[in-house]
Each structure stands twice: as C-alpha cells, then as structure tokens.
Amino acid sequence: MINQSLKQLSQMLASKEVSSVEMTQTFLDRIKQYNSDINAYITLDEDKSLAQAKAADGILAAGTATPLTGIPIAQKDIFCAKDWRTTCGSKMLETFIAPYDANVITQFNHAGAVNLGKTNMDEFAMGSSNETSYFGCVNNPWDLTRVPGGSSGGSAAAVAARLCAAATGTDTGGSIRQPASLCGFTGLKPTYGLVSRYGMIAFASSLDQAGPMAKSAEDCALMMNVMAGFDERDSTSLNHPKEDYTSKLNQPLTGLKVGLPKEYFAEGLDTDVAKVIDNAIAEYKKLGAEFVDISLPNAGLSIPVYYVLAPAEASTNLSRYDGVRYGHRAAEYDDLMDMYMKSRAEGFGDEVKRRILIGTYVLSAGYYDAYYLKAQKIRHLIADDFKAAYKKCDIIMGPTVPSTAFKTGEKTDDPVAMYLQDIYTIATNLAGLPGMSIPAGFSKSSDGKDLPVGLQIIGNYFDEARMLNVGHAYQQVTDWHTAMPEGFA
C-alpha cells in the first residue's frame, strides 16, 4: 500500500479493499516503527487522526467522497490546526495549541483527508537542512548521516520514507523544492497568492507560499486541486479561477519550448548533478520538447536580495512573540522590557535570532533605502529577467540544488554556505513564479551512497497545470519517482 499513488489509494478506499481507518493505522504503525530513525514528526495524535479516518469512512460509505477523502496527509507544523499543538519548530511555540485552522487545513478537512500528524521543520522555516529545529535534526532516509534539506525537512523525510501518503510544505526560498531534490520526490511551490497563507505561521510574507510534497506530479495535481483557491482572509490571495490541475496531465510534450538558463549551469554546479540533469534533458528531447538557451542575468543577485527582504519581513513578523499573549515567557524578569528581552532570547534559536538581527539592522533608520528599497528594486530586475525569458520559451528547466544532500553538521557554522543551497530556487520566489522539483536520478557519494538529484521546472505565472504535465510525462517514461530508500520497506 505504501508505495501506491494517491489515485490508487483512493481507488482502494472506494472499492472497500481497505478502509481509511485501516490505511491511517498502517501509516501510524510505520511512523511508530521508523520515526525514531528520521525524526520526521513533531506531534502525533492517533485519536484525532483515527477519528478523522472514521468520519472519512462514513463519507465513503455514503458515496459522497472526493479524490482525497480518507487519505492520510502529513501537515508541516507551520499550519495552525485547531486543537493540535502547532510549534513551527520553535521552543517559542512549544506548548502552543492552535485555536483555529489554517485555510490549507480547512481545505483538506473539507476534502475529507486525514491529518496524520505535524512534521518537523527548521525553526520558523529558517534553514535549508532542518538542523535549526528546536525538536532536533531530521535525517535523510537515503542516508541517515545526511540532512533532508529544509525547511520542510520533516515532510520531505516522511514522503521519502513513505511515512505518509503525501505531505504539505511551504517554500519561501526553496523550502519545498530543495528537500524534494535531496530526498527524491516531487514538490511544487505554486504561483505566489494561489494558496492562502491564512493560518500559516508567517516568515517572509511577500515570499511564503504553501504547496504539495508527494511521490509524483499526478499526486501533486490532486493535492493542488484541494489547496489552491481564493481566500479573502489572506490579503495577498489572488482571485484566480478554480482549475483542475489534473486536466492537462496527459498532454503530449511535442513542440514544448524549454529554456535552459546558462546561469544555472555555470561554476558551482556539481558535475554528477550536471550529468543527471543532462540525461533528463535528453529524455525530454525524446518526448518531443525543444530546448533553447536563455539567460537570467540578475539571478546571481537573488541570494543577496533574499537575505535583505526575508530577514526584514521576518523581523517584523516575529515581533509578535513577546511573551504576553502566547508563546514562551521567561521564568524570571525584572520589568516589562526585561521580560521581552529574556523571553525572546530564550524562545528563539540562533539562526532565527541572526535573521531578526539582520532584518532589524536593514530596516533601521538610515539604512532602509540602501538595503530594503534597493533589494526590492533588484527584485523587479529579477522578475523582468523571467518575463524576457518567457518570450523565448514555455517553461524553464535546470538543477534544483547545486549538489546532493550534505552531512549533518557540515554547514552549521557557516550560514553563508548554507544559504547557497538555495541559489537556483530563490529567484522563483522573488519573482512570485511557480517552481517544481522532480526526481531525475542519483549521484554516488564519496562514501558509496546513492543520493537523489532533482530537476527543477519553473513555469510562468499560473502555469502549474502545464508544469505538472511536464513532470507527469517524464514520470510515465522513467521510474526515479518510484525508488524507495533501503530500510523503510
């Protein structure tokens, strides 16, 4: 059961081959067996999950089920889920019980899906390795001594080790796609504004976007049908007409114009990763795609721009954690100021503090124009690069990450080296474009481990259905997406 697609699982439920309670129990048992190896989940609540599964079985019996009814989905612990502990990977929210549902959770509840548990993540989604979580590192199922990527590292490990049918993630600078690449599955960051941010704990509001993390493009399409949609409670939600993201899956790729940005194949790209990407391109040529060279001249600036904008927005968003209304409060303090200072010093981890300090600095009097405004202007240049590129092509391809998963602890002392993990993914967030990573093969590590490599597919605004089509076509002629890490069968 564990390696079946969402469509197959749905058929198994519809034909009564298995009930949602049995399916949910199967995954809960797997979590019991394997979670200590990878630390993918922060919070589990069997009773709540099984109650939802029982309700789903009622819907299935009544014949009013939709494609995800009864399917156990892991939720990144950034989404508020009513009566579930929701920590965002932080000591600050260690005991926080969400009083309401995020829109994403509401949508899955309406679809009759089962919340299987809350997954581990970098603290407040700040990280690319899941090492900044207060609840401990997540291990990569392909090699337990390596990181799964981040910030959606728990969801990533859970999908890769088949400890859920599918999972949700959020992506501010690559936090769905980079772990999808490092753990070998399919992850999609939609167009900014397509999925509501209501109830999704804010990191950098102008960049944060939720999306699906699943075994295949087809699974992601089914998840998108549930997740996307206008929500008036999110002021940046876009009123885009509802789409069926499965509708274009089987279109032929003949004549598809694919742009290859030369900046994504330059120095810094691991040669083995480059080989895997070349092989994927060859496969796409067989499928009828045509390739053109393009350039994104300002792409190299996306990391400096991001490390102004994201910390600036984070420092503002995280000012709400003051130890007054919710969250950690220090045990001892002299006065109100001392309570703020100590509560925040104790509640936040090092990386979160660093980003709050950077953000506070770039927004402080006298520096706003030189940093924040300058970064927003370059952001415009980066978006314009993509606009120009899409005059020459329908879709853009390249590597998702310059290399494969690195060893736990390898980059913890060097934030700048860690930030370079997202060099190919951040520009997409800055431009607000949709991006996806699909498994495209493996690269052998120096210690003999097969490590997954992801191919990135970047679409034009609202072109998710075509991107999923491009991913699905490849997954019909290759089987990288069905590979499972040893030891989790």
């Binding site: 925040r344 660093r354 940093y371 927003q376």
Partner: protein, 95 residues
C-alpha cells in the same frame, strides 16, 4: 560598513533580544559574513527601477465594515502565559 560589538548590542536591543558579550562576539562574525554577501547589491544600477513587493498588479481589497470575527477570548487566552479576570497580565508599567 563594518559592524562593531556596540552595533550588535544596539540592534539586539532594538529587536528586544537579550545578548551577552560572548554571544555578541559570535554574532558579529556571522552577521559580518552575511552583510558582505548582501553588499553585492551595491554594484547594481537601479536608477529608475520601481521597487517590487508583489508579483501581480494587485490593489488592497476593501470589504464592508461589518463584524466577522466572534469573541473567542477564553479560547485564545488558554495559550497565554499569564491571565487574570480575562486580561493578559504583564509586569507593572505605571507607578
């Protein structure tokens, strides 16, 4: 611009995060590295470029001025570190 230890302490105070001397030292090194990265932006000519905050041309939506939220004080205060008589409690701020 090179940051100093007093700068770090001032920024930490503005951000309301307590920081001791050894933490300030470590933070100085890491923040300096990050600012060096950020300073790559300086070389770019952005004359006449408008700043971008949202990828789509959107305007702030308006809605009717009607009550939509219900009173959930008790639910919300369950997460509060200290409450009394339905109020959030903080150290005394007025003599």
């Amino acid at each position: 611009m090179a940051l100093t230890i007093p700068d770090i302490k001032k920024i930490a105070h503005l951000a309301r995060i307590e920081i001791n001397d050894s933490e300030a030292e470590k933070t100085l090194n890491k923040l300096t590295g990050i600012l060096t990265l950020i300073e790559e932006m300086e070389a770019v000519d952005t004359t006449g470029i408008t700043p971008m905050s949202h990828s789509q041309d959107v305007v702030q939506r308006l809605r009717e001025d009607v009550v939509t939220a219900t009173n959930q004080r008790e639910t919300f205060q369950k997460n509060a570190p200290a409450v009394g008589s339905g109020l959030y409690l903080v150290p005394q701020v007025i003599e």
